[in-house]
Symmetry: C2
Subunit: 161 residues, 2 copies
């Protein structure tokens, strides 16, 4: 075969000229490339993962602890996923969990002293990797991207978010 006419309107990659589509494809590519690097480095240098780091980071910013559902919302992942990742951190002694005295259904998760030290260690490396990854980006571009991506996120978080 090899021929098999396409017949359906557009011959060339559908929607190739759309600014929205090109913006999305590029955004996604950047995110994937960066995530891939960070994943590999967390694995190689610290034997941990990005999701675990994300949980530690959220808890570091909340010294009083967070409920599971707050973690889920903050990290944009499902409840079930938080359960899994928090359990791994519990097993490693980086977080602790206690029943919410005000509501027997919910737990309050927070960092242990070991977990705090661990996060500081990971965060320094993380920051270093990010700086390195973007070291060749012109300062003006970084500022533009910080600003425009901030607006974009706000819009994407909107009603149809």
């Amino acid at each position: 075969m090899e021929k098999a006419e396409v017949s359906t309107e557009e011959e060339v990659p559908i929607g190739a000229g759309s600014a929205e589509l090109r913006m999305w494809v590029r955004l996604l590519a950047c995110a994937k490339i960066g995530e891939k690097q960070l994943r590999r480095r967390f694995e190689d240098e610290f034997d941990t993962t990005l999701p675990r780091f994300d949980v530690l980071a959220a808890l570091y910013r909340a010294p009083e602890g967070l409920r599971m559902s707050a973690l889920s919302r903050a990290l944009l992942v499902s409840n079930g996923n938080v359960t899994v990742v928090v359990r791994q951190l519990l097993e490693r002694g980086f977080v602790k969990s206690k029943i919410n005295p005000a509501d027997g259904r919910s737990a309050i998760v927070s960092l242990t002293p070991t977990g705090k030290r661990r996060f500081v260690e990971l965060a320094e490396a993380h920051h270093r990797w990010i700086s390195e990854l973007f070291s060749e980006v012109p300062v003006a571009d970084k500022d533009t991207l910080v600003s425009k991506l901030g607006n974009l996120r706000t819009i994407m978080n909107g009603p149809r978010g």
Copy 2:
């Protein structure tokens, strides 16, 4: 309840003032929000997944077919992953695979006529969802982001990519 919200950044954690870090956090948040929406819609409306769509898209742009390793490179995923997703599409009759006559180790994967029609259908919906998702973004911002994200991707794909 209702309290316990976490601002996803600038709470004064480590490296809070860094433009690189803020850029990265925002980029990642946008990508996650968008992916979540697309995943749900592909599932709800077409009973398929984003990775399958990505493979169809790559093959649609290569009428002569692609080798597994070319797919892997194009989609930024591992070889093993391509094996899995291509198998699912084979089972559904959307792609076909033949041994590369020039090299008995490699296969050439390409769309079937059914697969072409399927992709056109999915791509139209995909384009519609993206347009909708970004409909409130000012045109100037879209253009800026297309441009700056293009540069960013080039840099990230660089030597330490």
